[in-house]
């Protein structure tokens, strides 16, 4: 894999070529079981005939070839410093990002530092103004707290206001976060110092889609917004004015058919939240619950739950009773649960009837079955 990375950078940072075109080349290579290395060393005729490159594009790639060895030096330096370089074909690339943005918009390459597994968990983004009101920040804190307790990951754009609040709340409530940078990954010095502990503990991953040395600018900050939306399974809007990054991000998301939850504002608030709701966003209350179902949820919370065949916890226990050792991911996949693997692990670790088998990852089995199977040894 590593030996392809210089080629991936050459493709991803090729100027004047749309993401869609880049991803189409990648898909085509995948279908033909060719590598990106093969592609760069094809004759121009093959580029033209098999990959529909026009004359200009061929010139672009011929220039890119000359830069391969330069990229090699850069890749070596990045890897040496502990950054990960993930092409869209990498098993570590965020599956949520790939699904949400599709081949038209999903970046061909992302740079990360930290626990890559975070990108595979259910995630929410809480977005809003850099100068949000207290009510919006409280909302952000509420939603981040509930999500963290539910083992959902918080995606943060690391801007002031709502973004920063979402990140701080997630970390305060022992949740996990993805920090999406409006700059190149190797320019985030102060952030890597500040979140050092969280990164090495596996609670934070820092992600950038830009040229590693690129410094912050408005263009990159705007270009980062769709990545935040793309990385999130659910999107919550705390506060939006009728222009600027949040507004255009939400409108863009709605146009792409994303489900977006917007905090229903109080009467005296001056923001554009209601306009977004009119455009098709779903209104939620201060705790992030969908307004129409609010009562129903409140009632549910007061009921002492009996084991019910549709209950997730019941399903998991019954499944393990049938025997065998499973990692939580297998349980989630087999039972098609909407729980994250971490939530399943956490739940099972607390159950006295479940045995945790040490290892990486942990495996679980039911006591009854384990004892039986041991007996059968004799």
């Amino acid at each position: 894999m590593n030996e392809e990375l210089s080629y991936w950078l050459a493709l991803a940072h090729l100027p004047k070529l749309r993401t869609k075109k880049k991803n189409e080349i990648i898909v085509r290579l995948f279908e033909e079981q060719k590598t990106i290395i093969d592609f760069f060393h094809f004759e121009p005729k093959q580029w033209k005939d098999n990959y529909q490159l026009n004359e200009n594009e061929i010139l672009l790639f011929q220039d890119a070839i000359k830069e391969l060895s330069n990229y090699a030096f850069m890749v070596e330096d990045l890897l040496e410093q502990g950054y990960s370089i993930l092409p869209i074909t990498s098993p570590d690339y965020s599956p949520i990002l790939k699904k949400n943005l599709g081949r038209t918009y999903a970046p061909s390459l992302i740079y990360t530092k930290g626990n890559k597994a975070i990108m595979k968990e259910i995630s929410i983004a809480i977005v809003g103004s850099r100068k949000a009101d207290k009510v919006s920040l409280d909302f952000t804190d509420n939603v981040a707290k509930i999500a963290s307790e539910d083992y959902k990951v918080i995606v943060s754009g690391f801007a002031k206001g709502v973004d920063k609040q979402a990140l701080d709340s997630a970390l305060k409530h022992k949740g996990q976060s993805i920090i999406v940078l409006p700059q190149g990954i190797s320019t985030f010095n102060s952030g890597f110092k500040k979140y050092y502990k969280q990164i090495i503990d596996g609670d934070v991953i820092v992600l950038s889609t830009f040229y590693p040395k690129a410094t912050w600018n408005v263009g990159l900050a705007m270009a980062r917004n769709p990545i935040i939306y793309g990385l999130a399974t659910e999107i919550f809007v705390a506060e939006s004015s009728n222009k600027g990054g949040t507004w255009s991000g939400v409108v863009d998301g709605l146009r792409k058919g994303r489900k977006i939850f917007v905090r229903k504002p109080n009467f005296n608030e001056k923001n554009a939240n209601n306009q977004l709701i009119q455009k098709g966003a779903i209104p939620v209350n201060a705790k992030g619950n969908i307004l129409n179902y609010e009562q129903q949820i409140n009632i549910n919370q007061n009921v002492v739950s009996e084991l019910d065949p549709n209950d997730v916890e019941y399903k998991i226990i019954e499944f393990l009773k049938k025997g065998g050792e499973f990692i939580s991911k297998e349980i989630v996949d087999t039972l098609k649960l909407d729980w994250s693997s971490r939530k399943v692990s956490s739940f099972l670790k607390k159950q006295s009837e479940i045995i945790t088998v040490k290892g990486k990852p942990l495996k679980f089995s039911h006591k009854e079955r384990t004892i039986q199977s041991q007996q059968s040894l004799f």
């Binding site: 060393h41 330069n70 330096d77 502990g82 110092k193």
Partner: protein, 683 residues
């Protein structure tokens, strides 16, 4: 690019003046023209450089040569410039401005060939610049240093091999070495590419005359050389096992009026360059050096090489003697071995290389100290040293291993380098350390096998390096040559003992900001009975320092300072050894008739300096801790500062600074014994 050999040889004649390529040279060059990767193993003097210099000038862009040898860079660049080829180098010997200019030239396409040290791959200015260079070929010189199984493994080369794997597939890469065992060869091949061609040549050097001289003491080595060095033809190199021995041997020859000089990595760059140039010009009969000298020095007529200690392995030995006799004329190669046994039955000359192996890796506990410190926060090298109280050398070994294993990474933030623990870091794997240790012990055993051999020595060395030689080789004291034996003459024994009485180590403490001058000690701590005597007095209630030390110390004083007048003697207030230093200082004061002052005092608690493993902490320990009770006493005075032991010099320098601030015009250190790295350990 010209793949026609005939036409290439016309160019070769025009540019380099050679008539033609050897077949192996052309084979290599032709593969490089095809964009292939090649490992070339050929002996010193074969003409490996031509295999990359010639294609480099045929390629359109720049060829980068990673080389660990500064002397070689200098020599080769000089040679290339003389042939009208634009070449430069980047290394620590040049100023930052010179290096930056070279980088600019490379970016602007003004260079064909650029030599660079592998460590430069850690430099951001360089990495940034590589974005803009038009690269045609990469060369790794001394490629055995990229393998941990090779001698002289260089961690910095790990990054170069990572780089090689990331290069475009059709970029030519050449790795060259003169010394690779089969195991190293396979390792190098694996690290560079699975698509690499290896070309291996013969290693025999038949102009060498190989001898081993068995001795029964260190003195016998000094004596044999005193009696015989001038009878060996030409000029050459004497390799000693340690830095301090380069000093002792060169002082000895100095005493004998034999013209030699010393060289080791502890000397500053300018002095080293001066010695290297002097070696080229045959300025001395011999240069006394650690193995830091000679690699890559292109001198055809080094006529002899003497080792006063055995190297770590036959590969080291072949590599080190390989620097001699490139002109093919008879060359004398001598190895001393002191086979006398200590009370545990261990041969004396086995101990030093064994100690290097044992001390090669810090203990597991120290690894964990570093890991835990870095887990807490991002740290720079100096911060790690402070947090762990480990020596710089140890911290560097540990860091390199931890980086190699992916446990920590070196990250660059702006101008500073920080070490970071990694989220998914594996456990520290010590199996590889054990395996390496085993290998090194085995190699040392093989070196002893060479010493005790009774068959052809050259055949043994070649076969050890994987070059199986079918026919007989006769060029050593086991085959056709008369053995050399040690038989000290009583006269020389007496000269040596006279020398010992007049030989005093210099203490280099001078600095611009202080009026302190270089001082003198009566002896090294470890190489005479002085250290043992001090130890007994200080730590085992042996009473006052005995009078023979006083005699020796005064003798050292006279040698260094002559009849210079002094106004006052002060002594370093003790940490733990009571009044020994004070009493001794009083005796010195009486003999020299220089008044003593008891006014130098400590104003804060200090720990004994030996507790601290590194200079940073030693300096911190004593910084601002000394003062004078009546400072006016010192103003305008010439002062002797006395202490029993001199280790890092941090205490003496600190006191020198304080006395300077109080107006002392000259501060002259006088010490009983100077330690050599690690003589005094924590109890």
């Amino acid at each position: 690019m010209n793949r026609n050999r005939q036409q290439a040889e016309i160019k070769l004649k025009r540019i380099f003046g050679f008539d033609g390529f050897y077949d192996e040279q052309w084979e290599t060059i032709d593969l490089l023209f095809q964009g292939k990767k090649v490992l070339l193993i050929e002996k010193t003097g074969f003409g490996k450089s031509l295999c990359f210099q010639f294609p480099a000038i045929q390629f359109k862009g720049l060829t980068i040569i990673f080389s660990p040898l500064i002397a070689l860079m200098r020599d080769q660049v000089k040679g290339l410039l003389e042939n009208g080829i634009s070449a430069k180098f980047i290394n620590s010997e040049q100023t930052q401005e010179e290096n930056s200019q070279t980088i600019q030239d490379a970016i602007n396409g003004k260079l064909k060939i650029l030599y660079i040290a592998p460590e430069r791959q850690e430099n951001q200015e360089w990495i940034q610049a590589t974005r803009q260079m038009d690269l045609s070929m990469i060369v790794i010189d001394e490629a055995h240093t990229i393998s941990v199984w090779g001698h002289d493994f260089r961690p910095a080369f790990r990054r170069i091999t990572n780089l090689i794997q990331l290069l475009p597939k059709n970029m030519p890469v050449l790795a060259t070495t003169a010394t690779a065992t089969k195991r190293v060869q396979i390792d190098v091949e694996k690290q560079i590419s699975n698509d690499i061609t290896t070309l291996r040549g013969r290693l025999i050097r038949d102009n060498f005359e190989l001898f081993v001289i068995n001795v029964k003491s260190e003195d016998e080595k000094l004596i044999w050389l005193a009696e015989n060095l001038n009878n060996i033809e030409g000029t050459g190199i004497i390799y000693t096992g340690t830095r301090v021995n380069t000093e002792i041997y060169s002082r000895w020859f100095n005493y004998l009026k034999i013209n030699t000089t010393e060289y080791n990595a502890g000397l500053d760059g300018e002095t080293r360059k001066k010695v290297e140039n002097g070696l080229m010009a045959n300025r001395w009969k011999a240069v006394i050096s650690t193995n830091a000298l000679g690699m890559g020095i292109d001198k055809p007529d080094i006529r002899f090489i003497v080792h006063t200690q055995i190297p770590a392995s036959p590969i080291h030995y072949y590599q080190e003697i390989g620097r001699a006799g490139r002109d093919g004329k008879p060359t004398t190669i001598i190895l001393f071995y002191n086979s006398s046994k200590d009370n545990k039955g261990i041969e004396e000359d086995y101990k030093l290389p064994k100690a290097f192996i044992d001390g090669g890796r810090p203990s597991l506990n120290k690894y964990n100290k570093v890991i835990n410190a870095v887990k807490d926060e991002q740290l720079g090298e100096c911060q790690i040293m402070k947090a762990t109280n480990l020596k710089q050398t140890q911290v560097r070994v540990i860091k390199a291993d931890l980086i190699e294993q992916g446990i920590i990474k070196e990250v660059i933030y702006g101008q500073s380098k920080k070490y970071e623990y990694q989220f998914d870091a594996p456990e520290l794997n010590i199996n590889t350390f054990e395996e390496l240790r085993e290998l090194k012990l085995k190699e040392l055993e093989s070196m002893l096998e060479y010493v005790n051999l009774n068959t052809s020595r050259m055949k043994f060395l070649c076969e050890y390096l994987g070059d199986m030689i079918p026919n007989k080789i006769e060029n050593c004291d086991n085959t056709n040559l008369q053995k050399l034996i040690s038989n000290p003459k009583p006269g020389t024994v007496k000269v040596l003992s006279d020398f010992r009485e007049t030989y005093f180590p210099i203490l280099k403490v001078e600095s611009r900001s202080s009026n302190i001058v270089n001082g003198i000690a009566s002896s090294y701590y470890g190489i005479s009975n002085v250290g043992a005597t001090l130890n007994r007095c200080k730590y085992h209630n042996g009473g006052d320092f005995p009078d023979f030390l006083l005699k020796l110390t005064l003798k050292a004083f006279r040698k260094q300072y002559g009849q210079e007048p002094f106004d006052l003697i002060v002594y370093v207030p003790p940490t733990e050894s009571g009044d020994l230093v004070k009493n001794f200082a009083e005796k010195i004061s009486r003999v020299l008739k220089v008044p003593i002052s008891h006014n130098l005092v400590k104003i804060g608690e200090t720990q004994p300096q030996k507790v601290f493993e590194n200079g940073y902490l030693k300096r911190d320990n004593v910084a601002g801790k000394f003062t004078l009770n009546n400072p006016e006493q010192i103003n305008g005075k010439n002062v002797i500062i006395f202490d029993d032991i001199f280790d890092s010099g941090a205490t003496i320098k600190e006191i020198g600074k304080m006395l300077t601030n109080n107006g002392a015009s000259k501060i002259a250190p006088l010490i009983i014994a100077r330690t050599v790295g690690g003589d005094i350990k924590k109890e």
